[in-house]
């Protein structure tokens, strides 16, 4: 008897057996045929799909060939096309190809002519006179004159532009005066040594006055650079095209004249693993932000090259809010610093590719003081526990966290998921675990952008916050530690440091024209910051860029931006 419930229509077992022998083989054959067709279709599709690169025109002699498209995949996304407005690293990277600057930075402290062929500084350090390059035109045909320089600089400081970052770079700017077609005079409110460095960054690239005159909704970036803007597909890619009439490469460029590549595409791919896969499968020719876990593999993979650039400026540091909670006590700050084995964490999470930081400043920045690290509270968990005991956090609760006056030693470190990169969340988990070992509890509330800015960055409701900031000048120390440069005022002082001593040092260093004084002042700042444990330095961000072997001629400037002017695609 069968167990089926279809008793009404069930036939008994006899005919069923016969039916089985009569069963035709056709369904099985049919199924097999379908399967073969499916596999064949898959194979066809796979072999048909693949990267599509326009073949470059072959030139005789094996030298640079003109033509081709280079696709460069990177994490992050464009927020605004106007370099004066947006402050993200991505904007700088892309805009470096569209806009030229007045001067080019050639070393930690040296500058070469670019759109300005020469310049003089007045005795009081407040007036700069630039002689401009002749025969240069913007992508829209407007000639490059002193008028353009004035328009660009005025645009940056104009309140209507709402520029936060770029305007902060030239904070003492007062006005510009057009002396003649190719001479412009810029006046500052007070002497400001970092002014030339500020003028060399892409955020202060020279824009076409005609483009700036258009209404904001119609804005398109128009510069004098080797590539002109074509299109921006939001969150997908930015496409640039060769500027055939390029006539203003900086001193030290690979060649005069236009770039070799026809098209330059910046593809936004936030996922590390996907970017990596896109490079190794040939879908893109270059990627930024190679995941450290894969970087070692590149050596064994033929047909790829890895480029590693330490980023000058501030390291990726953890900033301790010294105005709030337990961190008001310098002993607690130094205890946190001593609790974390930064070296072991950084070395292993980044597979040795990111140097461990022992100073708020990266070692490739001018005025870096190597002796300052003696003030750093290095890894020493016993010393950490001792410091916490001294600070009065002697009792521990059931979970092992320290308690004083009935309150647990808790530090709030907001987690802004959208800003996460370079596995910083993994590093944070490691820090959290090690802090727990000495009894410090770190909470990481997940927040969206709005809450992050309003409640934490501006509202100040955090104990710990992490940022890195790249700018090849020690003036970043003023950006990060001068008391007036809070986040609300477009600065980077997230540790809310309020030290008249530090203020004096950074102001003096910015105004002086004597490098020795500047070095002394900046060194003093580095030592004081570490002594007070306002930051826990973590790592120096390294730009790990990988290129397919087909890509030749890519250089990196002193600000670690890739220069595509001399790039070409070989075989």
């Amino acid at each position: 008897m069968s167990l089926s419930d279809d008793t009404a229509t069930r036939v008994d077992d006899g005919p069923v057996r016969k039916r089985r022998s009569l069963r035709s083989r056709r369904p099985a054959v049919l199924g097999a045929v379908l399967a073969v067709i499916a596999v064949a279709a898959v194979v066809l599709v796979v072999s048909a799909g693949g990267g599509d690169e326009r073949p470059a025109v072959r030139a005789a002699g094996g030298g640079p060939v003109a033509g081709g498209t280079l696709t460069y995949a990177l994490a992050g996304t464009q927020v605004s096309l106007d370099p004066a407005v947006a402050a993200t690293a991505v904007t700088g990277l892309i805009d470096r190809n569209i806009f030229d600057s007045l001067v080019a930075q050639t070393g930690p402290d040296t500058f070469a002519p670019w759109l300005a062929t020469k310049w003089t500084v007045s005795g009081d350090g407040k007036t700069y006179t630039f002689t401009l390059r002749e025969g240069v035109t913007f992508h829209d045909g407007t000639p490059f004159t002193a008028e353009a320089v004035k328009a660009s600089l005025d645009h940056v400081v104009d309140p209507a532009t709402k520029s936060a970052y770029a305007a902060s770079l030239i904070a003492p700017y007062e006005k510009s005066r057009v002396v003649s077609d190719h001479v412009v005079e810029v006046t500052l409110k007070r002497p400001f040594t970092p002014f030339l460095q500020a003028l060399s960054v892409p955020y202060l690239g020279i824009q076409s006055p005609a483009a700036l005159a258009k209404p904001v909704a119609d804005y398109r970036p128009v510069g004098t650079g080797p590539f002109s803007y074509v299109s921006w597909e939001k969150d997908k890619r930015v496409t640039l095209r060769k500027n055939a009439g390029y006539a203003s490469p900086p001193a030290g460029a690979s060649h005069e004249g236009a770039a070799y590549l026809d098209t330059l595409v910046f593809e936004f791919v936030p996922e590390d693993a996907t970017r990596w896969g896109a490079l190794t499968s040939g879908q893109v020719q270059a990627i930024a932000g190679v995941p450290p876990v894969n970087a070692g593999k590149l050596r064994s993979l033929p047909g790829f090259a890895l480029n590693s650039q330490e980023t000058p400026g501030l390291n990726y540091n953890l900033y301790l809010n010294q105005t709030r909670g337990p961190l008001r006590d310098v002993r607690v700050r130094r205890a946190l610093s001593a609790a974390v084995n930064v070296e072991e964490l950084v070395r292993n999470i980044y597979f040795g590719h990111f140097p461990v930081a022992r100073n708020p400043l990266s070692r490739t920045t001018a005025s870096y003081d190597p002796t300052a690290e003696s003030e750093l509270a290095s890894y020493d968990p016993d010393a950490a526990r001792r410091l916490l005991d001294e600070a009065g956090w002697t009792k521990t609760d059931a979970d092992g966290y320290r308690v004083k006056d009935g309150k647990t030693l808790t530090l709030v470190w907001p987690y802004w998921a959208e800003g996460n990169k370079e596995q910083r969340d993994v590093l944070a988990e490691g820090i959290q675990a090690q802090a727990k070992q000495v009894g410090i509890k770190i909470e990481r509330p997940a927040v969206d952008t709005g809450a992050f800015v309003a409640k934490y960055l501006i509202g100040g409701g955090y104990d710990l916050v992490d940022v890195s900031f790249a700018r090849p000048t020690p003036d970043v120390l003023r950006f990060a530690f001068a008391s007036g440069n809070t986040y609300a005022k477009a600065g980077g002082n997230v540790a809310l440091v309020d030290s008249p001593q530090i203020d004096r040092w950074v102001e003096e260093a910015a105004e002086t024209s004597d490098p020795a004084t500047a070095d002394k002042d900046y060194a003093a700042v580095q030592r004081e910051v570490l002594r007070q444990a306002y930051v826990l330095p973590l790592y120096t961000p390294v730009q790990l860029t990988a290129f397919s072997a087909k890509v030749r001629g890519v250089a990196f400037d002193a600000q670690t931006y890739p220069v595509f002017h001399g790039a070409w695609l070989g075989d």
Partner: protein
Amino acid sequence: MAPLAIRLARRLALTLFVLWGAATLAFAGMRLVPGDPARIIAGGVQANATPEVLDAIRDQYGLREPVGVQYVLFLGRLLRADLGGSYQLGRPVSSVIGEQLGSTLSLATGAAVLGFCLAVALALLTAGRPRARAISRVLEFCSISTPNFWIGILLLAAFSFRLRWFPVLGDEGAAALVLPCAALALPIAGVLAQVTREGLERALDQPFALTARSRGATENRIRARHALRHAALPVLTLSGWVLGELLAGTVVVETVFARQGLGHVVVAAVRGRDFPVVTGVVVLSALTFSLINIGLDLLYGLVDPRVREAAA
């Protein structure tokens, strides 16, 4: 015809009610959230907006009106098919959705086709054969119990990273669709295969099958031309559920394969508290599902005359 028209009218009325309910829910959700969308609109962390700028944004997006007024304005805009402007992307929601719809649709359609084909093939091959059916049952059970994003990750690891058969950057071309469709289709195919096979077996035991056999029809012909039609009924009933699972699955599968699409957009909107986008997708999916369910009902009537007569 008249009973059908009445039924249709009732269903449409219900659809409108459902749409209104979904929109209201989304709006209520929007209002319940603490926090200030003005800052997100201003450009997030990078743009330090001054209070004047924030106020201007609030005026532009109507964020300062009383709740009742906002609700009425919101409904009015919806009636004109205006879904508002995204906070994060600064563009009209309808254009955001429009751009991403194609990618999601191709993924969902591909997975649906793959799922149905697999299910039908499996059912045809294993109906009435105990050993094959047992093996098939086990496989189906496994695929139903497996999360589709895990299948996706495993496929990605094996076929994209290790074997390099398929591209990793999953957007352009048919090759990029293969793995995501497979990940999406497998769990669904499991359920469909079981249901189809049951329907098939039930049909094969009906008297008409015996009659057809006695007249000399081959097994193949009976299965394909007669029994399959009967098996189509339960499958059709499930189609609504299948569609739901497909569109829900695209959310995670698009994340696994880093594909563009509505799923990606929704997740980013949820993470960034971008309510116009979330509302737009909610309303759109409510509309889609209601319309599809109505369509399925009608189709059901077409396929099975008994239903039509029962309704009359």
